[in-house]
């Protein structure tokens, strides 16, 4: 190979290597970021079950005979639902595990720039010391720039290989554990938490129905006495709407959790195929589902 040909080939080969590495790790980074966001979406579910239980108990107290003190009812509700608060702390562990795992993946996939930037500073510093010797320039700026670029490439190749090895092992070794944890999150959200929300919603709906009935004023003279029921309707309706929104989030979460597992499996299956379109599609589908969760929350 002639010197001229080699001169052209070298930067191109390194660029190809670096470009290829970046492309391969990008879906892992996207997956990690989206999975981390999904864990964030799940987080309120953990504390939500006790909150929903307390809300239900407060509504029950409103319908009981005898003296009524709102503060007392609130405290009693908290005591009655305390076991669910503890259970919610357990449920939160699932989300924390997913968040940590997802962050680790996103970090290991996206470490390239951070790690290499640090290394590049080292190269630049060392090269800068060599730049002059006794006040005389050793390298011209063009050659120095080339040396820095190539050093960066050398470090990138080595680091990237190690990162890819770790990423592949992390994905493969934890597929089963991830499935167990995500299934636990789904069961908690879709079966247990959703059941509590439904219980609370059903009770509130009954109360709203009674408020509407009690608001009826046969004559103008009856209106004044009915105003408290009429005003109370707005608060009950808002409580029901908030409950319905949370139930919808839970359903959306369950769908996104399915997409998460599919994307994770596909990352493993196609890890060696640079730029594999199918892998990108499934990861993109998952990322889009998580984005949709965000849009729903924004619509509040």
């Amino acid at each position: 190979m002639s010197n001229r040909l080699r001169a052209r080939w070298a930067p191109a080969a390194i660029a190809l290597l670096l470009g290829g590495c970046a492309l391969q790790m990008q879906p892992v980074a996207d997956f990690g970021a989206a999975a981390n966001h999904l864990a964030t979406t799940y987080k309120p579910f953990a504390s939500g079950i006790a909150a929903s239980c307390e809300q239900r108990e407060r509504y029950i107290a409103l319908g009981n005979a005898g003296a009524f003190d709102d503060a007392v009812a609130e405290r009693a509700a908290a005591v009655r639902c305390a076991p669910l608060k503890e259970a919610g702390a357990t449920a939160a562990l699932f989300g924390q595990a997913l968040a940590d795992y997802a962050s680790a993946l996103a970090t290991v996939a996206g470490t390239k720039a951070t790690v290499f930037d640090s290394d590049i500073k080292g190269v630049s510093g060392a090269a800068a010391k060599l730049e002059t010797k006794g006040g005389t320039a050793i390298f011209d700026s063009r050659k120095l720039g080339a040396a820095t670029k190539i050093a960066r490439a050398a470090a990138a190749i080595v680091m990237q290989e190690k990162l890819q090895t770790l990423t592949r092992a992390t994905l493969q070794d934890n597929a089963d554990a991830l499935a167990v944890v995500v299934d636990a999150m789904k069961t908690y959200a879709d079966k247990i938490y959703a059941g509590q929300l439904a219980d609370t919603r059903e009770l509130m709906a009954g109360e709203l129905r009674r408020l509407v009935a009690a608001s009826n004023a046969p004559t103008q003279g009856d209106v004044e006495a009915r105003l408290p029921w009429r005003y109370a309707q707005a608060a009950a309706r808002a409580d029901i709407e908030a409950n319905e929104l949370e139930a919808r989030r839970v359903r959306d979460f369950a769908r996104a959790a399915d997409a998460l597992l599919a994307a994770h499996a596909d990352l493993i299956a196609n890890f060696d195929k640079l730029g594999g379109a199918r892998r990108l599609e499934l990861v993109s589908a998952f990322v889009n589902q998580v984005k949709a969760l965000n849009d729903d929350a924004a619509a509040l």
Partner: protein, 150 residues
């Protein structure tokens, strides 16, 4: 057909939400909790809609029993999930720790190694402006680092 009494409602709900066995899944417990919770709500509505009913006190007691049962069943379901996922949680935590450890190591040791070797090999190549030499230096640095890893 007469409307079911509070006792009828409660009896059917309590029968349906009998205490789960060790073999029950979290899903099954959640379902039992739903049955108990729903029955409790039916009793609540019965009380509210029939303030003159003769069995209000009994309805309230049964309602509260079922309400508590729903809470307990949901708590048990979550505990069961936690127990089942315990090993998986530990494994994922370990994986996270390994990644963190790796990143610390890579920055502390091998980053310096890679840079030092790259600088030594490549400054010479850049000095003579030989692209082929630069590429050869890159390969040798790569090889040296691979050896260092082993």
């Amino acid at each position: 057909m007469t409307d079911p009494t509070a006792s009828d409602i409660a009896a059917s709900a309590i029968a349906a939400s009998t205490a789960p066995t060790a073999d029950d899944t979290a899903d099954a417990m959640a379902l039992l909790a739903d049955v108990a919770g729903h029955a409790s709500t039916v009793l609540f509505n019965y009380r509210r809609d029939n303030p003159g009913a003769p069995d209000l006190e009994q309805a309230l007691n049964l309602e509260m029993t079922l309400d508590k049962r729903a809470i307990d069943l949901r708590v048990q379901a979550v505990r069961l999930l936690g127990a089942q996922a315990g090993e998986a949680l530990a494994q994922m935590k370990d994986a996270t720790r390994k990644v963190d450890d790796f990143l610390v190591t890579i920055k502390a040791v091998e980053g310096r190694l890679a840079v030092a070797n790259a600088v030594i090999g490549l400054t010479g190549a850049a000095l003579v402006g030989d692209a082929g030499g630069i590429l050869a230096a890159v390969v040798s640095v790569h090889t040296a680092l691979k050896s260092a890893e082993a």
